[in-house]
Symmetry: C2
Subunit: 439 residues, 2 copies
């Protein structure tokens, strides 16, 4: 087993105990990238010599951080002082930020090694970059965190940083068969991340295990990297939420939810169907309106000065946003607040909600990144969400299932997700996506 197949927690263990060096780990991931990225195209910027130089410097330093040498892939919507950052737009092709985004600076302070910048859609909206799905290169990896999802899935990085405004973490993670995590809104600093919609934008990340997701959360929170307790799912109260978008769910997603329900029940959890009250029916549209209104403000400069260099779909979003009047926007925000309160009450009866991550398997074609419908509601409700891999669809592609926690109860969600992933993996005895992809 090469180093690049190991999960982040095990890499960190070996790196900090001195079993392996940052240089060896970097070499392993660079070899994996050289082996498979020509067909996947996950990286927007990657300079192997620079990576090795940084790894050697880390190894030579007197003090080793708790994430010493851990390679991370950084979505190219996040600023890096030493690598160009183009935000997925030709407008910023040669843009070189003067700083690191807060998340990058924090992880680097702890010893993490930035491998490079991963492909994002244009300004984290819809227009795809060059990345293909590692499981089938004729299919989209999803977006907007396309490159980070593909890199983690293909074993080119153990951790991929991303961000979500609509579905930009959960959907690509589902399509690429990795764990994707969108924390509660507002939990982590977005300094140095290009804004799209200020009441929705959320930093998150992807990995191949729930423990690896937890590792990065603890690191960013400045907590000890103690690991997640294995509590299992015995007695867990799971609410199955098909959502008002259910008609969009394809057989692959319907089957995945059924299989998960069956496996969680076998593991001792109770799974009962939750019919969301009527106000939730409007939440996907509420999200879309809020996002358009705010994006038209956040990208006011680009829209006013270089509209012809924006994609038609982005221009349409910004025009839509400018056409929404402020009082309508406030009504949308009020409706979201009302549903946040209803959802909070719901969590007195359920420990976690189970819902679709995406309509189905990754669609064929690289001209679009798939439908965000199944994430919009949770995004505007600000709750933590996590998609688990392990299940596959009718054509053998990954299909995620989404777990949703109560606002600001991110730790509890991760704990539950670990139990759920064990229940899925134990029953399925399935290999990790990265290994399967190698075959």
């Amino acid at each position: 087993m090469t180093l690049s197949t190991l999960p982040a927690c095990e890499l960190v263990e070996r790196l900090t105990r001195g079993g392996v060096t940052a240089t060896e780990v970097a070499q392993s991931f660079l070899a994996r990238i050289a082996e498979c990225d020509s067909s996947i195209g996950a990286w927007q910027h990657l300079d192997p010599a620079e990576v090795l130089e940084t790894a050697r410097r880390l190894d030579a330093a007197d003090v080793r951080g708790p994430l010493h040498g851990l390679p991370i892939a950084v979505k190219d919507i996040m600023d890096t002082h030493d690598m160009p950052t183009a935000y997925g737009s030709d407008l910023y092709r040669h843009h070189q930020p003067s700083w690191d985004a807060a998340v990058v600076a924090q992880l680097r302070s702890l010893g993490a090694l930035v491998l490079g910048k991963t492909v994002t859609t244009e300004f984290a909206y819809f227009k795809p970059g060059k990345t293909a799905n590692p499981w089938d290169v004729r299919r989209t990896p999803g977006g907007s965190s396309s490159g980070s999802a593909a890199a983690v899935a293909a074993g080119m990085a153990p951790i991929g940083l991303g961000s979500q405004t609509a579905a930009s973490l959960i959907r690509p993670a589902s399509y690429c068969g990795v764990v994707g995590f969108k924390p509660s809104f507002g939990r982590y600093s977005l300094a140095g991340i290009k804004p799209l919609a200020h009441s929705l934008d959320t930093l998150g990340w992807m990995a191949r295990t729930v423990d690896d997701i937890d590792l990065i959360g603890k690191a960013l929170s400045g907590r000890a990297l103690t690991g997640l307790p294995a509590t299992g799912i015995q007695g867990l109260r799971i609410g199955l939420v098909r959502t008002y978008e259910w008609p969009l769910a394809e057989p692959s997603t319907r089957n995945a939810l059924e299989t998960a329900t069956e496996l969680f029940r076998r593991g001792g959890a109770t799974v009962s169907t939750v019919d969301l009250p009527e106000p939730f029916a409007a939440m996907a549209d509420t999200h879309a309106g809020v996002m358009a209104f705010e994006a038209a403000r956040a990208l006011a400069f680009e829209h006013a000065s270089a509209s012809d260099q924006l994609s038609p779909q982005l221009r349409a979003l910004l025009d839509k946003g400018l056409a929404i009047d402020e009082s309508s926007y406030f009504r949308l925000q009020d409706a979201a607040v009302a549903c946040r309160n209803l959802l909070r009450d719901l969590f007195s009866s359920y420990d976690v909600l189970l819902a679709p991550s995406a309509p189905g398997e990754a669609p064929t074609g690289l001209q679009a990144t798939g439908d965000p419908a199944f994430s919009r509601m949770w995004a505007v409700l600000h709750v933590p969400c996590l998609t688990l891999p392990g299940l596959t669809g009718e054509e053998g592609m990954p299909v995620g299932i989404q777990l949703i926690g109560s606002y600001q109860c991110d730790d509890r969600l991760l704990c539950i997700a670990k139990g759920c992933m064990d229940a899925l993996n134990g029953a399925l005895s399935q290999s990790l996506p990265v290994e399967r992809h190698r075959r």
Copy 2:
């Protein structure tokens, strides 16, 4: 009367009706700047030739925006694609952003003319820039929006953009004798404004009249520039909140509140004392803790890579923030949420709250920008705040009084503030600060 003494609303009226040109208005303000800025030092970047060139281009354009040629001063914490932006730090002395901050792009799209960048404290925290108070150059103008406050007070710009995380709009506006407005948290896009604390940072602005404040709010909201109704203050229920910081209030501030109370009563309002419940006693400290925790994340890059180039007071803030553990931070946030709910209930009995804007007159000396104590609580409570000029202290310097509205009821606050300002001005028959300063 020269053009530079006119309030923004009247300038806009003349500019859009064609009575004067953007070039003539720009020339008038540039003349005023040439006349008085050598002793005040409000500007971080100002290029008169560039300003006149832009004004001529605006005048020559086929289409005139609703803010055609209105000069604005932009705090140097906000990015401008055509002017350097140093964030008040030597670290970014030669920094040239690639974009305009959203607020700048929006106002420019409507025809506004950016005169230049105004002095900010270091990263909008405490270390002062070069600006002096226009009423007495031995005194601080307050901070962090020091240059914008001084520029508006001295008639060098009709509108000054600023931002507030603790007291950065209200305090300098109070010290400089202008109207300062901090909208509800989250109301306007912060894209392109250097973050300091993400759950507190708020865009705001300063002007010489409440109508001018309203003009910019309507413009940024994409609403028609219809003007504020003159509703008066007859029957208005005003709650006088001395706050738990009252022991810090100097005689000048105590007298200003007494005078205001008397004048508002004469105008037909009822003014009754509000004793805030005990949980509010912790809010100033709650604010300080939240700010430190979040600033340590937002400035992680600068702290990690160039700590020696930060001021001792900023380093102390960031070190304090890193020493706060995440669970303590969440407890602070929970306490703030509880007080926000209490405050919302309070507004069923009062139309507006009246409170100190600052401890007193602007302190002597330019080594510090004064105490933010009287704004911290309102900042962490996310409510809209406005400071009104017109009253003076024991040494003849301006002393503001602060009006506080209910969360997201910004329009109502501005309406009330207009009535209150009329009540103050009418009774005092006092000249505008800018005119007084000219004497």
